[in-house]
């Protein structure tokens, strides 16, 4: 038992000041610090173009960082990239599955590339095909697979070599809700099963909230907030009322602070975010105050605070999902 506990405390991924600059001008990733414990699921959440894929590319030794350093599975990504490569699995945002091969052939080929012995390959292939529910379709060409099936095969491919760390770049991109749920379930099972560490990137809030032990919010190349999903929205109240409108938002904000059931009130962009104890109860009073403060209200809504609100709070911008 203590052994497992000690193992868990080992760091699977560690980055210090990781930076990637293109053409001396474009800073794709800037000064990223990261510590991810073994056996946990970590999610990079951010809008498209925030630098998530670039970060993953560096950690998986595809890209060399301009500055900073990182260790993955105990090895330096620049000094010993091959040792890193032996211990990681990667699935990519663009499905890099060969159309002409069958699912089984894709896994077989991957195993051979990583020099897995024949018997081990066969064993892994049948285990993984069962796990992702593709045993029946295994011998059909991947060209005939649906989007969901391709993502599941991709997941199996990343796990073929029994890696210590699995990187998933947008694992449910483009999938319908049912398929997303299935992939999430597989990911959760993986975490339960052992000491696998998972680092995923996503621009879906619900994915980060639902899967991750810890979330890192990335915006414009920087890690702007980090913590468990619960911690990131803590202090925002049990419910969040958002009022979008024009007028003296700051003044309105100050006014609200006088109500004792308001936990937090802040303005971001053209919104006022109000953390309250129970949104539905307090809504009327809030709208009344807004009108009294001569605000021209465009929109009001109530929800439990989510990572999108945390994003808005930290970056001052709306988090847009595609």
């Amino acid at each position: 038992m203590t052994d497992r506990q000690t193992q868990k405390r080992q760091t699977a991924i560690e980055a210090v000041s990781l930076t990637k600059r293109y053409d001396k001008e474009v800073l794709a990733v800037e000064g990223l610090d990261l510590t991810i414990e073994q056996g946990t699921i970590y999610a990079f959440l951010g809008p498209n173009g925030a630098g998530k894929t670039t970060t993953i590319s560096m950690l998986t030794t595809i890209l060399r960082p301009t500055d900073g350093r990182a260790m993955v599975a105990g090895f330096d990504i620049e000094k010993e990239p091959d040792q890193v490569r032996k211990r990681i699995g990667v699935t990519f945002q663009e499905l890099v599955l060969d159309d002409a091969l069958s699912g089984r052939q894709v896994l077989e080929y991957h195993g051979r590339l990583y020099a897995l012995q024949l018997s081990k390959r066969r064993q892994r292939i049948s285990e993984l095909l069962d796990m992702v529910g593709l045993a029946d379709a295994a011998d059909r060409r991947t060209k005939t697979y649906s989007g969901g099936m391709k993502r599941r095969l991709e997941l199996a491919r990343g796990l073929m070599t029994d890696p210590e760390v699995l990187f998933l770049d947008e694992p449910t991109l483009g999938l319908d809700p049912q398929n997303r749920a299935a992939v999430w379930e597989h990911i959760r099972e993986l975490r339960e099963a052992g000491t696998l560490t998972l680092l995923l990137t996503t621009h879906y809030m619900d994915e980060a909230e639902s899967l991750a032990d810890r979330v890192g919010i990335i915006d414009r190349g920087k890690l702007v907030a980090e913590g468990s999903p619960q911690n990131l929205v803590r202090g925002m109240g049990a419910d969040v009322v958002r009022v979008r409108g024009e007028g003296d938002l700051e003044g309105f904000c100050r006014q609200l602070a006088s109500f004792e059931w308001v936990e937090t009130a802040s303005t971001e962009a053209d919104c006022v975010l109000i953390g309250v104890d129970q949104g539905s109860r307090r809504l009327a009073a809030i709208v009344e105050s807004a009108i009294a403060a001569a605000l021209s209200i465009a929109e009001v809504n109530v929800s439990t605070p989510n990572l999108g609100d945390a994003f808005l709070k930290v970056t001052g911008r709306e988090f847009r999902e595609e």
């Binding site: 595809i62 990519f92 663009e94 890099v96 080929y109 991957h110 990583y114």
Partner: protein
């Protein structure tokens, strides 16, 4: 080594499952042999010394073999370009394999395709009446010559495919090369009858050396067509090897630049 064989093997299997690509690349050379060969034969034979010496088909086939080899290189480079643009390369890059084996595997694939193309055309040529046939050593030398020629163009094709980001750019570059390679050589007409400036260009064209070498060892010197004299064999071999080296080094440089960019 394992990685190289795996990559090569995978691409070979795709070739076997989808032979359309190879067949498609063969169409142009086959048409050259059949149409141009037969078409010109009448004219050429009539204007030659007219005593049974002179078989234009025999004369022309080595040049078409070169064209076929070029076609194989184009196809292979295209395959690499597609893999790059669709992000397949990333799978190779995150694998614990030597970077070199990625390039080597692709080069071997191209060499294979090119050799197959060349041998098909050679076979066709003999089938429809080219006169020749050489000793086993002669055939070996032929394979070596074709191999070197193919390696050189494989290198150029891979270098181009590693450097462009659009299929259009790649094909344009290759098509530009196509015509001069055939016409600025001794493939279709003897060196002796060319104007000096053209002869100089032809001597710098690896095609000339491949064709000359093949004529010498396989085709009884093109049946001494129009007093064509082949270049010394060692010159041809040297030229072809130098070309192969050039092409492969070019590919290695372009390749390492492209993966660092990624």
């Amino acid at each position: 080594m394992n990685a190289l064989l795996t990559i090569w093997g995978k691409q070979l299997r795709k070739m076997v499952v989808h032979p359309e690509e190879i067949v498609g690349l063969l169409i142009q050379p086959v048409l050259w042999v059949l149409l141009f060969g037969f078409g010109m034969r009448g004219l050429m034979d009539a204007t030659s010394s007219g005593n049974g010496q002179g078989n234009y088909l025999t004369f022309m086939v080595p040049g078409i073999v070169a064209l076929a080899a070029l076609g194989g290189a184009i196809g292979g480079g295209n395959e690499w370009l597609t893999e790059r643009l669709r992000g397949f390369v990333k799978e190779y890059l995150v694998a614990p394999i030597p970077r070199f084996s990625i390039l080597a595997g692709n080069t071997l694939t191209i060499l294979t395709k090119t050799l197959i193309q060349a041998l098909v055309i050679l076979g066709l040529g003999f089938l429809i009446g080219a006169q020749g046939g050489g000793s086993p050593i002669g055939w070996l030398v032929t394979l070596v010559l074709i191999g070197g020629y193919a390696a050189g163009f494989a290198g150029i094709a891979l270098a181009t495919a590693s450097s462009t980001d659009s299929p259009g750019g790649y094909h344009m570059l290759i098509f530009i090369l196509n015509m001069p390679l055939l016409f600025a050589s001794n493939a279709l007409y003897p060196l002796a009858t060319l104007p000096t400036w053209m002869r100089i260009i032809a001597l710098m064209n690896p095609t000339t050396h491949l064709v000359s070498g093949m004529r010498g060892v396989l085709f009884e010197n093109g049946a001494a067509f129009a007093a064509e004299s082949t270049l010394p064999l060692w010159t041809s071999l040297l030229a072809v090897f130098a070309f192969a080296g050039f092409g492969l080094i070019l590919a290695a440089c372009a390749f390492s630049r492209s993966i660092r960019k990624v």
